[in-house]
C-alpha cells in the first residue's frame, strides 16, 4: 500500500490498517443496504499523535508516553467517527508539538515528500506530509504557534488553524492551553470546510469553546475584500526576497481584480516571538507536569530513589531536548523574582496585540502575511540554533496570540523547487469568510 511504500517519509507513527479496512468494508456494506451516509462517510483521516483515540496508543512523539494507551476519545475524534470517518493512523510530529521542523520526534524525523533532504515543517510535519503524499485524504494537526500553517506551507497544501474556542481541545494533549487549536490539512477548501464543520462546536468537556454557529461554507466568488498587510512583516530582513516578491505581485493582481489592498504599520511585530515563547513555555511547564512516571508512561528504571530524585530521573530520561528546554524556560519565567519581568510583561503584550488586531478588523476583512520567512529548510540546518528556529515562527504566532483564525494557502513555487504559500487571517469566528477568500484566491 501507499503508506508502506512511503514508509521512508516516516509520516506515520502507527497505522491502523486492519481496523481501517474492516471499517471500510462495514461502510461499504451499509451503503449497499441504502443506509444514510455520514458527512465523512469513508473519508480516510490521519491524526497527529497528540489527539486521543480510545483504545489506541497516544505518544506525543515522546518516550515519556511510551506504551500509553488512551482510554477515551478526543471530542473531535468522537465527532468524526459519528460522521463515519475512517481513522487510518497516528501521525508523526515534534515531541509534544514543540518544534518547527519535525526533527524533535522520539520516532525519528519526517521527510518532506517534495524533497527528501528537506524538513516538512512542524510541529505537525507527519500530518502535512501524509496529505501531501496522499497517505490519507485529510488530516488533523494542532497549531499552537503555526504548527499547522507552517508545515502546510512547506508541503504545498492547505493548513487551517481555526479561531481559538472553535474546536474542542478535549483529548488534545496540551502544549499551551490558551494557544492550542486543532487544525486541518487538506488539498481543497471544500475538504477543509467540511472537516471544520464536523469537528467545530460547543463541548461540555471544554469550557473554552464558544457558543458560535457552525461554520457552514459555500462559495462566494464575487465577494470583494478589504485586505491589509503589515509593512514591517514584508520588509523584515529575514524574509526570503522571492517570497516577498511573489506576495506583493499577487496582491497587485488582487487590487486589479477589485479588492482593496493596504500596507499598514504594525510596530508590535518585534514583540511577537518573545511574548509567544514566554507565555507558551510558561503554560507548557505546568501542562507537562503530569508526565511524572507515577500513573502512566515512562518511569526510570532506577529503583529505590527518593521521590524528588525519582521525578528528576524519570523526566530527564523521558523528555527530549527541546521539550526540556521549554519546560526550563517556562519554569524560569514563572519563578518568583522573574515573573513580572517576563510573564506579566508578555501578557501585557498579548493584550496590546488583541486590542490592535480588533482595531484593524474594523477597517479590514483580511490580514495577509507570509506563512514563513523561508521555504522548507534542509534537514539539520537549524538544529543547533534554537533562536533561529524560534524566529522562523514570526508570522504564524500572531494568530495564536490573538486567537484569530489563520490559513496557509498554497499559491507559489520557489526557484529552489519548494512550494510556499501566503497566510490569510480574519477576525474571530469568521472562518467562513476566510475560506471563501482562500477559495477565490486559489481559483485565479
Amino acid at each position: 500500500m501507499a503508506i508502506e511504500q512511503q514508509q521512508p517519509l516516516n509520516a506515520y507513527i502507527r497505522v491502523y490498517s486492519k481496523e481501517a479496512l474492516a471499517k471500510a468494508r462495514l461502510l461499504d456494506q451499509q451503503r449497499k443496504e441504502g443506509k444514510p451516509m455520514g458527512k465523512l462517510h469513508g473519508v480516510v483521516i490521519g491524526l497527529k499523535d497528540v489527539i486521543a483515540y480510545k483504545d489506541h496508543p497516544l505518544t506525543a512523539a515522546s518516550h515519556i508516553l511510551q506504551d500509553y494507551v488512551s482510554i477515551y476519545n478526543a471530542t473531535a475524534v468522537d465527532k468524526m467517527l459519528a460522521e463515519e470517518a475512517i481513522l487510518i493512523g497516528h501521525l508523526n510530529c515534534d515531541e509534544f508539538a514543540m518544534g518547527s521542523s519535525n526533527e524533535n520526534s522520539a520516532y525519528g524525523k519526517v521527510l518532506n515528500a517534495r524533497c527528501n533532504s528537506r524538513v516538512p515543517g512542524g510541529s505537525s510535519g507527519g500530518s502535512a506530509v501524509a496529505v501531501q503524499a496522499g497517505l490519507c485524504m485529510v488530516s488533523l494537526g494542532s497549531d499552537t504557534g503555526g504548527s499547522v500553517r507552517q508545515p502546510a506551507d512547506f508541503c504545498g497544501i492547505l493548513g487551517l488553524k481555526p479561531t481559538y474556542g472553535r474546536v474542542s481541545r478535549y483529548g488534545l494533549i496540551a502544549y499551551a492551553s490558551s494557544f492550542d487549536q486543532i487544525g486541518i490539512f487538506a488539498h481543497t477548501i471544500g475538504d477543509v470546510a467540511l472537516l471544520l464543520e464536523v469537528i467545530a462546536g460547543v463541548d461540555e468537556f471544554d469550557s473554552t469553546v464558544k457558543k458560535e454557529k457552525a461554520p457552514v461554507w459555500k462559495e462566494a466568488p464575487d465577494q470583494k475584500y478589504r485586505i491589509a498587510y503589515f509593512k514591517e512583516a514584508l520588509d523584515h530582513p529575514g524574509l526570503d526576497p522571492e517570497i516577498r516578491e511573489a506576495i506583493l505581485t499577487r496582491t497587485e493582481q488582487w487590487r486589479q481584480a477589485g479588492h482593496t489592498i493596504e500596507a499598514i504599520d504594525f510596530e508590535l511585530l518585534g514583540y511577537i516571538v518573545p511574548a509567544y515563547y514566554v507565555l507558551t513555555t510558561a503554560e507548557a511547564s505546568s501542562n507537562l507536569a503530569r508526565f511524572d512516571g507515577v500513573r502512566y508512561g515512562y518511569r526510570t528504571k532506577d529503583k529505590d530513589l527518593e521521590l524528588t530524585e525519582f521525578y528528576k530521573r524519570t523526566r530527564s530520561e523521558g523528555f527530549g531536548r527541546e521539550v526540556k528546554r521549554r519546560i526550563l524556560l517556562g519554569t524560569f519565567v514563572l519563578s518568583a523574582g522573574y515573573y513580572d519581568a517576563y510573564f506579566t510583561k508578555a501578557q501585557q503584550v498579548r493584550q496590546l496585540l488583541v486590542e490592535r488586531t480588533n482595531l484593524i478588523f474594523k477597517n479590514f476583512d483580511i490580514i495577509i502575511l507570509p506563512t514563513a520567512p523561508t521555504t522548507a529548510w534542509r534537514i539539520g540546518e537549524k538544529m543547533d540554533d534554537p533562536i533561529a528556529m524560534y524566529l522562523a515562527d514570526i508570522y504564524t504566532v500572531y494568530a495564536n496570540l490573538t486567537g484569530i483564525p489563520g490559513i496557509s494557502i498554497p499559491l507559489f513555487g520557489h526557484t529552489n523547487g519548494m512550494p510556499f504559500g501566503v497566510q490569510a487571517m480574519t477576525s474571530h469566528f469568521n472562518e467562513v469568510s476566510l475560506l471563501q477568500f482562500s477559495h477565490q484566491m486559489m481559483q485565479q
Binding site: S70, I173, R290, F291, Y311, L334, S335, A336, F343
Partner: protein, 483 residues
C-alpha cells in the same frame, strides 16, 4: 528559671479546609462522596490523563458563596482559578487548581462565645480549590499506594486574621464554624474523616507588643479538641523558647496527639515556589446579581436567628434555646415538633432530657432519631392532659417508641396498663386497701401526725402501679381521713 507564661500573648490564625457536599467534583462529573473502593471515583479528568480538561461545578461556587454570605464576606464578582504548581504523587496534574489572587469571598467575621463573652473573629478570605488524592503508606510493604477518589473534591479554605488568643477561642471558633457549615448543609464537618481540616498558625509575643512574633504552622489536627490541645502545647513551647532567649524558627510542625507534642516537618527555607498563574483551561466566571439573590434566598434560618425566635416568640430560656440550636438536626427536629404542639417548654424539656439521653444511650445522632415529631407530640399531650405522668412517659413509654417507632404512645400506655386512673371508685378501692393494711399509722394520723399523708399516697401509688392520678388520690385520701 521560672517562666511567667501570663506575661505572653498567644496569637493564632486558623486555616480551615472544608470539603463541600456537592454530588460531583469541582471540575468533573465524578462522585465526590467520601470513601468508596480506591480509585473508583476517577474519570480521565480526575486522573489528569493527557488531553483532559476541567469544567467548573457551579454548585461548589454556590456553596462557597453561601458560606461567605453567612460570614458577612464581600463577594467577588469576577473570579478565576489559578494553578498552584508542585509535584506530589497524589496530585495527578502536577498542579492544584485553586483561587489564589481572587478569593470568591473576602473579609467577613464569625462571632464566637466563650466564658469571657462574645467576640467577632475577622476572616481574611474564603476561597475555592480542589482536594488532592490520598497517599497511603501502610497497605503495600515498601511502597506507597495512591487513592485518587478524593482528588478534585471541592474544598473551601476559610482563613482567619490572626485574631484568636487562646486554645479555648480556637475551640469556640471551630465549633461555631462547623455548626454554620452543617446548618448550611454544605460540609458535614467531620474532622476524623478529614472532611473538615484545620491548620493553626501560632506565634507568641509579650503582652503589649504590637508586632507579631515568628509563627509556626501546626498540621494534622484531627479534632476540635486536638486543635485546642495543640495550641496549648505549642504556645507553651514557643513561650519557653522566647523566654529563654532562643529564636523561634518559622516552621511547619505536626501534632502528635498520642505523645502530646509537636515536631518539625519542614522549615521555611524549603518552601516551594508555586509559580501561580491563571488556569487557561477555565474561563473567568462572573457572579451575577441574580445568582447572588438566588443564593441569599436559599440560606436556611441559622442558629442565631433560631435562638432569637425561641427566646422571644416561644419564651424559652436562652440556655434551652442554645442547646437545641447547637445541632442543626436537633433544631430541625424541634422546628417540626412545634408544628404539632404549642407546649414549647415541654417540647424543649423533652428534647433536652429524655430524647437526648435516649440518643446518647444508643450512640445515635439527631438525624437518626426514629421517633417521629408528631408521635412525640402525642406523648407530650398525654402527659399534659393528665393521662400519664412525665416520669412514666419518659421512663416507660419513650424507650418503647425508640425501638418501635411505628407504635402510638396511647396504645403503648394502654397495653402496658399505664394510663392514669381518674375513676374515683377505683382509687377509693386502692385507698381502702392501703389504709386497711396499716391501721396503726391511720390512728397516728388521726392523732395529729399529718405528715403521714405522704406514706398513704405512696402506698396507693404502689398498689395502683402508678396509675392512680396523684392529685385525685390526695384529695380522696384527705376526704377519707378527715371524716
Amino acid at each position: 528559671m521560672t517562666i511567667n507564661y501570663d506575661a505572653y500573648e498567644i496569637v493564632i490564625g486558623l486555616e480551615v479546609h472544608a470539603q463541600l457536599l456537592t454530588r460531583t467534583k469541582l471540575f468533573c462529573g465524578d462522585s465526590a462522596a467520601f470513601g468508596g473502593e480506591p480509585n473508583t471515583h476517577v474519570s480521565p479528568i480526575t486522573l489528569g490523563l493527557p488531553g483532559s480538561l476541567p469544567r467548573l461545578n457551579g454548585k461548589a461556587v454556590e456553596f462557597a458563596i453561601k458560606m461567605g454570605l453567612t460570614c458577612h464576606c464581600e463577594i467577588e464578582r469576577n473570579n478565576y482559578f489559578a494553578r498552584k504548581n508542585y509535584f506530589y504523587p497524589d496530585l495527578p496534574k502536577g498542579y492544584q487548581t485553586s483561587q489564589h489572587t481572587t478569593p470568591v469571598c473576602k473579609g467577613g467575621w464569625v462571632r464566637i462565645r466563650t466564658t469571657a463573652g462574645e467576640r467577632d473573629i475577622r476572616l481574611n478570605r474564603i476561597h475555592l480549590e480542589e482536594d488532592a488524592g490520598k497517599s497511603i503508606h501502610d497497605v503495600i510493604p515498601d511502597a506507597t499506594a495512591i487513592d485518587l477518589n478524593r482528588a478534585g473534591v471541592p474544598l473551601i479554605e476559610i482563613v482567619t486574621e490572626p485574631d484568636l488568643r487562646s486554645g479555648d477561642e480556637a475551640y469556640a471558633y471551630l465549633t461555631e464554624l462547623r455548626k454554620t457549615l452543617r446548618y448550611l448543609d454544605i460540609c458535614d464537618g467531620n474532622m476524623e474523616e478529614g472532611s473538615m481540616r484545620c491548620d493553626a498558625n501560632i506565634s507568641v509575643r509579650l503582652k503589649g507588643e504590637t508586632r507579631l512574633g515568628t509563627k509556626v504552622e501546626v498540621k494534622n489536627l484531627n479534632s476540635i479538641r486536638n486543635v485546642r490541645r495543640a495550641i496549648e502545647i505549642e504556645s507553651r513551647r514557643l513561650i519557653e523558647l522566647v523566654a529563654t532567649g532562643q529564636t523561634v524558627q518559622q516552621q511547619t510542625r505536626s501534632f502528635d496527639a498520642a505523645e502530646g507534642t509537636t515536631f518539625a516537618l519542614r522549615t521555611k527555607e524549603e518552601a516551594n515556589d508555586y509559580r501561580y498563574f491563571t488556569d487557561p483551561d477555565l474561563p473567568p466566571f462572573q457572579v451575577t446579581d441574580a445568582f447572588l439573590e438566588s443564593i441569599k434566598a436559599s440560606i436556611p434560618p441559622l442558629p442565631e436567628q433560631l435562638v432569637q425566635k425561641y427566646t422571644r416568640e416561644l419564651q424559652l430560656p436562652e440556655y434551652d434555646a442554645r442547646v437545641i440550636c447547637d445541632d442543626r438536626d436537633s433544631a430541625a427536629y424541634f422546628e417540626q415538633l412545634i408544628t404539632h404542639t404549642t407546649n414549647y417548654k415541654a417540647a424543649a424539656n423533652w428534647l433536652l432530657g429524655p430524647v437526648r439521653s435516649g440518643l446518647n444511650e444508643k450512640s445515635m445522632d439527631w438525624k437518626d432519631l426514629p421517633v417521629r415529631p408528631e408521635s412525640l407530640a402525642r406523648l407530650i399531650r398525654l402527659v399534659e392532659e393528665g393521662g400519664l405522668s412525665f416520669s412514666i412517659a419518659a421512663e416507660r413509654i419513650f424507650p418503647v417508641l425508640m425501638s418501635e417507632p411505628h407504635r402510638d404512645a396511647l396504645e403503648i400506655a394502654t397495653a402496658l396498663n399505664l394510663i392514669q386512673s381518674s375513676d374515683t371508685s377505683e382509687i377509693a378501692a386502692w385507698i381502702e386497701q392501703a389504709l386497711a393494711g396499716m391501721p396503726d399509722k391511720v390512728s397516728e394520723y388521726k392523732k395529729g401526725k399529718k405528715g403521714l399523708i405522704g406514706l398513704f399516697v405512696g402506698e396507693v401509688k404502689k398498689l395502683s402501679k402508678g396509675k392512680a392520678d396523684p392529685k385525685l388520690t390526695n384529695q380522696l385520701l384527705l376526704e377519707k381521713l378527715e371524716n
